[in-house]
Symmetry: C2
Subunit: 348 residues, 2 copies
Amino acid sequence: MARRVKSPPQPISDLDARKATILEAVVVEHIDTAQPVGSSSVAATSDLAVSPATVRTEMVALEREGYLAQPHTSAGRVPTDKGYRYFVDHLEAGVLGPAQQRQIREFFAHVRGEVEDVLEQTSLLLSRLTNYTSVVVGSGSGHASILSVQLVNLDARHHLLVTVFSDGSVTKHSVLASYEATPVEVREASRQLNALLIGTTFETKVQVPSRADTVAKLVREAVSVLRAEQPTFEGEQVYIGGSSRVAEVFEGVETVRKVLSILEQELLVVTLVEDILDKGVSVAIGSEHGYEPLSSCAVIVAPVSLDGENVGAVGLLGPTRMKYREVMAAAEAVSKHLTAHFGGDERG
Amino acid sequence: MARRVKSPPQPISDLDARKATILEAVVVEHIDTAQPVGSSSVAATSDLAVSPATVRTEMVALEREGYLAQPHTSAGRVPTDKGYRYFVDHLEAGVLGPAQQRQIREFFAHVRGEVEDVLEQTSLLLSRLTNYTSVVVGSGSGHASILSVQLVNLDARHHLLVTVFSDGSVTKHSVLASYEATPVEVREASRQLNALLIGTTFETKVQVPSRADTVAKLVREAVSVLRAEQPTFEGEQVYIGGSSRVAEVFEGVETVRKVLSILEQELLVVTLVEDILDKGVSVAIGSEHGYEPLSSCAVIVAPVSLDGENVGAVGLLGPTRMKYREVMAAAEAVSKHLTAHFGGDERG
DNA sequence: GTTAGCACTCGGTAAAATCGAGTGCTAACA
DNA sequence: TGTTAGCACTCGATTTTACCGAGTGCTAAC
């Protein structure tokens, strides 16, 4: 599968077949039951024909190598982040249940409207599909050019600068002037702004008129307002679906609080998702993403592209013991559909 | 104070002074400690010079009348919704701490940008100020008229309809045509749309051209796309601040989940807030608002107006045992500042 | 290398004991 | 008549104890 591309920081030494089987059994059962897994149940579950004692010996080794951990002496084993990582890296592609496949197809067959709406709906879909909290990020194409600029006057001093970009995004800015302007002057300023800005990007240098008349002042004002946004403007949008899942999926109020408070910070979420994508990985487990408050989370990310360029991502956030196979399959399916949706019939 | 205007469904019979004092003492202490309150601590706290035994007799009466409840036989008393209601209705206006006042002034002195941004920032301010989850609703003026319409073509078949309304809001709609149109035709359609729609509202009937040429088709398409939104378009925006507070303020995962899942439904939140405003009340306690999942919540709402018309509201959501006085003061202060902010210097 | 056997650990649960805050009632009191 | 001290009683919360058993590590035999 194309998902796991780069190896994690310290390449994980391959385990021999039996250790791998045991590790997998532990992970699978722990994901299912949320309980520490003992040697005997592994011996029973896995199709290795070995006794619990043998399994135990192997488990000691797996623990020494950092794949498993023991909550306390007389308990079973629990996977560590490294254990999950191994599991995920060696996961064969999951396949979606027919019901879910239908749900996705159905959704994309009927969804309509602006990109923003579609992304928001998609985040709800993902959350419904997986029972985890979903994150959908629209990155904006970054260097879109201006298709149209328009200055609309609300009253003599308040104007609205509406800008349309080639990627279909629209921004508005208030322009508050200290002098009055007539509708005619505003219209003229609008005309000049169009002439000046159409086809430019944020990088383009623009020669503003230096005259002192009202129209020129308006133009200068508008350009500067628009430019002022440049540093922060990335056109990113974040849609979070099913944040209430956080409360049902994590135990411990404190964890819930921490995770929620991360999700509140949209900028942070975008960064997180993009970091994971940047690394070419699609799953970040536990502390791999470096956000301490999310150390008990796993994040699964799949890119959405348009004309070969990354324009966004869908993500899912759950506990480290999340259902990787199903969720990865869902993320992949939805991202594919989304890519097709934007690449194909529509553009917003 | 102007806050509590209408009496609740069944008018609350006034309590005699001593009962009122006792009820208040119970409410105050319970809000503080989250524990059932016993007769002796009431006797000690309140400045009534009576023994616990007397307090107890009164408490029995208060319980019979529905103001207090007993979690179990040998515990202290806890206020019921009705008890909180009485408390709130007889609350003298709280006054904000100087630090908070400064924080608010500071905020409004420096906040800039579009209405949307201001509202979002405000919701964060409110949440920081009160340590509860905040809700800021911008209602949109409802019957704004169109100031400008513009059709921008992305490519031969995809166009973007950008509409500016008199209240400063901007909408965009994709117009996807089954035929190709030249830039010239698009520009002409844009011109005609302007002529056709400027000054109209959603209520206005519009005479669309019935010709069969590309321009006329585009115009018809655009008008119908715009009209299609009418039923849902209310221009409402919701900004929720500090949703992670939910996890620290309510006990019980299930409650947290329920509350969060309500907060996810923006439409529902708007309705809730507007319902509370409609009733002329500014606090809804427990089941007063009729949303079962929020039955352990209190919601405090204060309106934001522009030119005497309600254009939004700020709200705070906490447990029924929330710090009413402080929070009501904060809500009121912020709503006043917000009203002044929009009424005065800026318009977005 | 594998496994049966076994002593050992230790968290979880249940039962028992205890504590004490708070109650309702009653009888005495002003 | 309203207030209060006194008192028996209730009942959740906390602590204590005992115990169970899942699971371990080790060892000796296979």
